[in-house]
Symmetry: C2
Subunit: 451 residues, 2 copies
């Protein structure tokens, strides 16, 4: 393996990007909204005043409004990232639980980045049968390079969403206990979203909580699931029903791992990238429209930029609402419909991003039926997802009844009322609300299902 | 059921007891100790300076030193509790996660106490086959009395430590999902320590965390396991290996539930009461020596006093060290030996307190071999446990090897070093340390095992 750059040189070369953006007054679009949160009342994001768990009130404008000079900056930033191979750092600001996201090419060849976040003498790498042959040795080398005190064990789980359950999770506990891992050990998640979610929940629960590092190897995990501390497993009746909010020590995104990613997996990740544009970052959406071919062709600088900008958006939302009291729910655009597809169709039949893509089209359709967005947005969403070769409608087996029955146990149901993330206003604005005409939901379901 | 007293009258009648005790300078006994924590360095409790997770430094003297006038107060307090049937309140001070422990006779007939801590419209009572016929109806009545908006469901688990595992836990998730419980629901643990630990972990993990109330019905749960937020299940290779720190909304101790408690269970709880005396409250230990017959005869005022004083001790320790960075580990006196007995002998063969009693005798024996305590303490511990009809030695099947192999995966092992809670100095003082002569541990194991 390549020799590690010395620690100081990495540190000094870090390009630090703050996830905290300045707060600007609401746009004229904003509806007046009281600061107190209640079930069903719509919260308009990002352009409304929203009530957060901490009691803080945040007034957020869309990214473009906060930084009018951002369009030229996009081009500069992409160039800058293409020119350098040093990691970019996006900080997730959560007080004592804050952590960095390192993004860059070849980061798995930088032992210092990983080793600085390992505490204690034992590490358990949790990965799967697909990723282990590709990157497990590399990660073990990075963890042990010039570091003889550390013992690294690994557990290799079967690959796929259908194994994201309590039974598979027990294999992680079995291995940790057999290896006598103690409270000072570190769990490392090496893989996609399923591995990250399961390893994170295992780390949250093993001995009531141990250190934890995320090394996401899919675009989906790099832009979304590895950031923000949502961990868990599925239940036969619902996605991610059992889990914990548990933050990692760091997230290490080596963009080189995308070189081995199947095309379907790449597209699946793009569904979440598109989401950030739609819910809060119109300029990012416009950039995606112009650069979709580069993303699909795996242009390294385009991918690196998409990952960075996605992580910045996610980090900002998570910093403001870690436990999903309100704003964080907006990251679930298309996910209520999408989770219903994944659960009813059978976990793993469709990739998560594929189900989210179809779910996004449905959420956008419903927003339009409510009169909350104009039809140009509907068309642009349809086009960009189709360009990314993502599904734009649910699988044929999905009936209206199937949607309704799974959506009834969605985590965003409160006191019997299903709350949804819907677009409202110009591109980049959304609401999280239980106040919508039920007829529109019915019409959308009937429009997308044969019965 | 009895009509509820109106809320204001309960409030005004609450006898509030602060778990925060004033901080006094260390006794002359104290050893000088640096503020930084390291594996193996002994922390002397309660009379030493200890380093806590929060970075705070606490100097704590034993309870008797902090309040020299405490002995007469004990008598007064017992009288006061015997005279009144209003709840005593012990506060667990954990910032935004603070909560009250209500202690009193007939509290399950006070719907307001429970209802004020229920959020949302749905409640899931988790109980077992022994407790359900005795108290489930009473609890459901208390939850629904003049409160038609609330729906109460229940899940009745098999009774016993051997069912404290992931498989049984899944029954709680199954029921919650089948009943479409949402994030605003409340889980209520009605039972002993096993039910409290499992229901608490279920509440911590269901939808990544829902409200949670403890109604402990055994002395063990009332004086120890229901307070402090330690939740979890066992693994075949170790006790409580999988779980979470998750605090309840309140703990409601109706001392009347002890009337139906089997004698063995009562004695099991007394083992934890004795523990508080030994590790930090010499006067409480002396009170127990004088009042053991009253406790065994279930004298209501003696039991209520023992519960209150135990909860005060536990609340104070938990407030200072919620996540067990140091001081909280002292609550595990006798537990490392005890957990080894429970795991190797088979979960449920002995009650938890029975194993802890034998483990306490072993820890005290080892402390004496190290020259850390004089033999009068050894004799007093032996006598009080024998008076309570608790085991004073491990079961015959326990070998030195069995102890060693299970203790190697104890949660208090750090980087391969087993840390133990041992008594040191006068009655009421202990240390949590990895710095002890291994020979003493070996001698103790050989003294208590046939091979």
């Amino acid at each position: 393996m390549a020799a590690a750059s010395p620690l100081p040189s990495i540190n000094s070369a870090l390009t630090r990007s703050s996830a905290k953006l300045s707060v600007a007054p609401p746009l004229s679009l904003s509806t007046a909204s009281s600061a107190s949160s209640s079930v069903g009342r719509p919260h308009l994001y990002p352009s409304s005043i929203s009530s957060l768990s901490s009691g803080r009130i945040a007034a957020l404008a869309p990214i473009s409004a906060r930084n009018p000079s951002r369009i030229p900056a996009v081009v500069d930033e992409v160039r800058e990232m293409a020119d350098s191979r040093v990691p970019t750092v996006v900080d997730v600001d959560l007080g004592s639980r804050s952590y960095p996201i390192y993004i860059g090419s070849g980061l798995l060849d930088e032992p210092d980045l990983l080793q600085r976040h390992v505490h204690g003498k034992s590490v358990l790498v949790v990965t799967n049968t697909t990723i282990a042959p590709l990157y497990l040795d590399k990660v073990i080398k990075a963890l042990t390079y010039q570091n003889p005190k550390v013992t690294v064990e690994s557990v290799i789980l079967p690959d796929g969403e259908k194994y994201k359950n309590m039974e598979t999770l027990m294999q992680v506990f079995d291995k940790a206990i057999e290896c006598r891992m103690d409270r000072r050990c570190t769990f490392v998640a090496l893989g996609g979203g399923v591995i990250g979610d399961m390893c994170g929940f295992a780390a949250a629960s093993y001995l009531r909580g141990v250190n934890f590092i995320q090394i996401p190897t899919t675009l989906m995990a790099q832009v979304d699931s590895s950031v923000g501390g949502k961990t868990g497993v599925n239940h036969p009746l619902g996605k991610n029903m059992i889990g914990a909010f548990y933050q990692p020590q760091c997230v290490l995104v080596d963009t080189d791992t995308l070189n081995t990613l199947p095309e379907r997996e790449l597209a699946s990740g793009i569904a979440e990238v598109v989401k950030y544009g739609l819910i809060r970052d119109a300029q990012f959406f416009e950039w995606q429209e112009k650069n979709m071919q580069s993303l699909l062709a795996r242009d390294p600088s385009a991918l690196a930029y998409a990952i960075k900008r996605s992580c910045e958006n996610k980090a900002e939302v998570v910093s403001l609402d870690e436990k999903e009291s309100g704003m964080r729910a907006t990251l679930n655009l298309g996910h209520t419909f999408g989770h219903a597809i994944e659960t009813a169709f059978g976990y793993g039949q469709w990739l998560h991003g594929e189900a989210v893509a179809a779910g996004t089209v449905m959420a956008v359709d419903m927003s339009h039926r409510l009169g909350w967005i104009d039809d140009t947005i509907v068309k642009r969403v349809f086009n960009i997802l189709q360009q990314a070769k993502l599904p734009t409608q649910p699988p044929e087996m999905m009936t209206v009844e199937k949607f309704k029955s799974v959506m009834a146990v969605d985590k965003k149901v409160a006191d019997g009322l299903l709350r949804l993330i819907l677009l409202k206003g110009p591109l980049g604005c959304c609401v999280f609300t239980g106040e919508y005409d039920r007829k529109a939901l019915d019409e959308t379901l009937h429009a997308f299902c044969k019965n």
